[in-house]
């Protein structure tokens, strides 16, 4: 299944780049994330509570960062497994300037299995987009807070 989308941040590309790859920001921004640990360089293991329609559960997964091109592009390889099923995917994230802010575009190829797969593609795409939006909103909030904090200092 293909999931793609766009998001606009008010903050600059260099600020967003820093936060999008910062483990602390990520842990706070990933919806339902309860544990987040670096297990190898640019590889993290995480636990998150996720719900897709009527199917909900705790998932443990692994995220790996690849093909990093500073401030413009990176690829995430992710896999996860929980009681309601599992999945894996690869997402390419592109950042470009958008006035004072940043334009982000993501394109992900995702395969899922188990009850999550059976609840239907339509719900799944909508849920994935919602979670992406929640994630971007949260990470921007984190970034703003951090920027204001350092400005205040």
């Amino acid at each position: 299944m293909r999931v793609d989308g766009e998001h606009r941040f008010d903050l600059s590309r260099s600020v967003m780049w820093e936060h999008l790859l910062n483990p602390e920001s990520l842990q706070g921004a990933i919806p339902g994330c309860t544990a987040f640990e670096e297990v190898a360089p640019e590889t993290w293991e995480l636990t998150a509570q996720v719900g897709v329609g009527p199917v909900r559960g705790t998932f443990t997964g692994r995220v790996e960062l690849r093909d990093r091109e500073p401030e413009s592009r990176y690829t995430l390889i992710a896999s996860g497994q929980g009681r309601p099923g599992g999945g894996q995917g690869e997402a390419v994230i592109n950042l470009t300037d958008d006035g004072d802010g940043t334009h982000l575009r993501y394109e992900a190829d995702v395969t899922v299995r188990g009850a999550i797969a059976r609840v239907g593609g339509r719900l799944l795409t909508a849920s994935a987009r919602t979670m992406a939006r929640q994630f971007f909103d949260a990470i921007e909030k984190e970034a703003k807070t951090a920027t204001e904090r350092s400005a205040a200092r």
């Binding site: 395969t111 899922v112 299995r113 797969a117 059976r118 609840v119 593609g121």
Partner: protein, 791 residues
């Protein structure tokens, strides 16, 4: 309604179903209603991936959970039961109740948990950890047939399960080599017109209202196993369970209580049934498993999934001179009880109702990483009739002929019966043109065409469809299923008080046997229906049987009952003759009396004769006391009901939504025992056939092999509001092959309705350059065609 019936007071009447007050008031008793002392519950850990090798299974977390008594992996279960049986003569790969080593479809059982309730069992199954090395999922059957992208069973090269060709079609059925191409070549070379089309009869989910379920109780004290099952055919289930468990048939009893529909999907004995029986025997306690709806989508057999490459040769007058069908059946990951046999029925349907001199059907059955297919209402005949009836409409369109006329010039004529098709099928009886004329008259065909043309002139997208089906029914002679036998068994016992207990091996799962069988026996014995109880669905009470499938219950089961009833009557005549001091041969049964034919009321009461039979003083010479007889009956051939369905559809230009506006049907199932039940069967059949045309399709993801339509959110079955009032009628052409002249009606609606709807949709869109549309006809597809794009 035109109808004639065999003489009698109840046969032919619209008698209301005796079972309905029980079933509709929640007073039925289904497998899940049963609770046995000490009963444990099963849940299955199922594969989330379509194809892979099991590297390891960790059951320790599940075993540690509260209420869990036992966890067995497939490998552990394989130590106590062998692979599952098939009932076809074709080679089949090993298929274990729970897979020991590889997974081959999403939902395949990997391990089984036994716990004190079903929720604890399900929770424990969730925490079983399985490490699977994934292999490419084989989803497209045409690619699969080249071994692409993987081979599913090592012993079956290029995923080829079964190659098949019927005898008499120029192909040697043994070697499958083409022996004689000349007739076929000649027909196509000399044809004025050739129609060629690839068509697809898509994969469907049967969706019985009651999911599958099983309770197995092994009693160690007497080595007896009792299984309560949602089966359509308890005796076949008994035979297969006994064989796999290594038990005698006398040690296994299978009970099918009330069963909420099957449509063929409950013919099979499934892995869960074998596992439950084996586990109960192993632990000496009763165990229960009830399928949930999600499992029903994934792991109850699917139906159809046949691609047909159809070529039809004809003269300029529309006379068909040859038909060729190259068929590819996607049978899924394994062969189940009848899996490999079902697509062969597609090939046998190649002639339909037409006198076609040359036919050629070649079938390839292919393994893919999907749930196995098997019998689903119609089972092979809907696919065959769909392919042929679509091709007939394409021929009509090519020649600019009325679809009724192109059918009329090809009909097998009444004086040709019994008729043997070029593919070797023997049709019992038929009068097709009479039925077509009835359908055209009832529909007001000429007016319909005029109305359609007027609507089109207004810019509306309206189409008319027609289909004319016949089908193989009343299964049948045993030669058609040599591994099981296809007779039916019945018993009729007259009790001391004149009440009657009759049993049949044809086990009702919604069809109304308790009513039709009682109607028939009431007339035969001359007693009220209320005095007769019909027993079915229990191998402990019904000595033998085959089961309910292939529109066979009335044809084969009904005749067996009539035979048993005849034997009882012969014996009652002996007792009555002694009481009346007359000859047995002169006596008849009417209105609760046995007496001289035509003057039965001067004789002796049925109940009095019954009482005398049990206290016979004096006992007539050479006569045993009591009144209990049984009969086995097997037909010498299949019955071939037929019918014509005319439909009108309108497609919304802006949304692509199709509205079914008229449905006119005339069926001929021979003599009718109960017109109300026949109508019910046709209504339900039409609903499922329309479902295939318009809304139903089981879809697996091409890359991952996940079932994408695994709930009613993504798999739409039609609702009552999707249908117009069905305008139904009958003609009666009795079958000469059974004494009641009946033919079977359980599948007709499903077979005839689908092509009629698609023909109507293609007719509607003919102005948009559309010659064929593959099912299902979802609005998006139709909208794109209206917009001038590809579907």
């Amino acid at each position: 309604m035109t109808m004639q019936a065999t003489p009698g007071q109840l046969v032919g009447q619209r008698v209301r179903r005796r079972e309905d007050p029980r079933l509709v008031k929640g007073r039925g008793s289904y497998v899940d209603d049963m609770k046995l002392p000490g009963m444990l519950h099963l849940a299955f850990k199922r594969s989330d991936v379509a194809h892979g090798i099991i590297r390891s299974i960790d059951t320790s977390a599940a075993e540690a959970m509260p209420g869990v008594e036992l966890v067995l992996t497939g490998a552990q279960l394989a130590e106590i039961i062998p692979p599952m049986p098939v009932a076809t003569p074709f080679p089949a790969p090993d298929h274990h109740a729970v897979t020991p080593d590889r997974v081959r479809y999403v939902g395949e059982p990997i391990a089984v948990v036994v716990a004190t309730d079903r929720f604890l069992a399900a929770d424990a199954a969730d925490v079983i950890e399985v490490d699977i090395e994934e292999l490419p999922a084989v989803i497209d059957p045409e690619r699969a047939a080249n071994g692409d992208p993987a081979v599913i069973h090592e012993a079956f090269e290029n995923n080829l399960a079964v190659p098949f060709a019927p005898a008499g079609t120029g192909v040697n059925p043994e070697t499958l080599e083409v022996e004689d191409e000349s007739a076929l070549n000649e027909a196509f070379e000399n044809a004025d017109v050739v129609v060629s089309q690839r068509m697809f009869s898509q994969r469907l989910v049967p969706n019985a209202m009651e999911p599958r379920g099983v309770i197995a109780r092994f009693e160690p004290g007497n080595d007896e196993l009792t299984v309560w099952s949602t089966t359509q055919n308890p005796h076949i289930a008994r035979t297969l369970l006994a064989a796999i468990l290594g038990m005698g048939q006398h040690q296994v009893r299978v009970i099918a209580p009330d069963v909420g529909g099957g449509f063929g999907s409950k013919i099979n004995v499934y892995g869960e049934d074998f596992a439950a029986a084996a586990i109960s025997r192993d632990i000496g306690r009763p165990v229960k498993w009830i399928e949930d709806r999600s499992e029903a989508f994934m792991t109850t057999i699917h139906g159809r999934d046949v691609i047909g490459y159809i070529d039809l040769a004809a003269t300029g007058e529309g006379k068909v001179t040859a038909v060729k069908m190259r068929l590819i059946a996607d049978i899924g990951a394994y062969e189940m009880v009848l899996t490999a046999a079902i697509p062969t029925l597609v090939a046998f349907m190649i002639s339909g109702v037409y006198d076609i001199p040359v036919v050629r059907a070649e079938l390839t059955e292919v393994f893919t990483n999907k749930m196995p297919t098997d019998a689903y209402r119609g089972a092979g005949r809907p696919e065959g009739i769909y392919f042929l009836e679509r091709a007939m409409d394409m021929l009509a369109s090519e020649l600019g002929m009325d679809p009724a006329d192109v059918r009329r010039v090809n009909f097998i004529q009444p004086d040709q019966f019994p008729y043997t098709t070029a593919g070797g099928m023997v049709y019992d009886s038929g009068e097709y043109e009479r039925l077509l004329d009835q359908a055209l008259e009832n529909a007001g065909w000429e007016q319909m065409k005029a109305d359609r043309d007027a609507a089109r002139a207004e810019g509306r997208i309206v189409g008319l469809g027609m289909s004319f089906y016949t089908e193989i029914c009343g299964f049948g002679p045993s030669a058609a299923m040599p591994t099981v036998g296809l007779w039916e068994h019945a018993s009729v016992s007259v009790e001391r008080d004149g009440k009657v207990r009759a049993s049949s091996g044809a086990s009702s799962h919604g069809q109304g046997h308790e009513t039709t069988f009682a109607q028939m026996l009431a007339d035969d014995l001359g007693i009220p229906m209320d005095d007769i109880s019909i027993i079915h669905g229990d191998t402990g009470q019904v000595r033998e049987g085959t089961g309910t499938f292939g529109s066979r219950s009335q044809v084969v089961g009904g005749t067996a009952l009539l035979m048993a009833s005849g034997k009882v009557k012969d014996k009652m005549r002996v007792f009555a003759a002694q009481m009346l001091e007359t000859q047995p041969g002169d006596l008849s049964f009417s209105d609760g009396m046995i007496g001289p034919t035509g003057q039965e009321d001067t004789g002796v009461a049925f109940a009095e004769v019954a009482g005398f039979a049990y206290i016979p003083i004096p006992l007539p010479p050479d006569t045993e006391p009591g009144l209990s007889e049984e009969a086995f009956w097997e037909p010498e051939g299949f019955t071939w009901p037929f019918g014509c369905y005319i439909t009108q559809v309108e497609i919304d230009r802006d949304t692509g939504e199709l509205e079914l506006q008229r449905f006119v049907g005339v069926d001929d199932c021979g003599n009718v025992i109960n017109p109300l039940i026949v109508a019910g069967q046709i209504h339900g059949g039409i609903a499922q056939g329309v479902g295939q045309a318009l809304t139903e399709e089981a879809v697996y993801d091409e890359g991952s092999g996940q079932l994408l339509t695994a709930s009613f959110m993504d798999y739409q079955i039609p609702r009552a509001r999707d249908f117009p009032r069905f305008e139904l009628d009958h003609t009666v052409t009795p079958s000469p092959l059974n004494p009641m002249g009946v033919k079977g009606i359980g599948e007709a609606g499903t077979i005839g309705s689908t092509p009629s709807i698609v023909n109507a949709a293609v007719d509607a869109l003919s102005g948009h350059g559309v010659e064929h549309i593959d099912m299902m006809l979802r609005p998006e597809k139709l909208w794109r065609l209206i917009q001038g794009g590809d579907a």
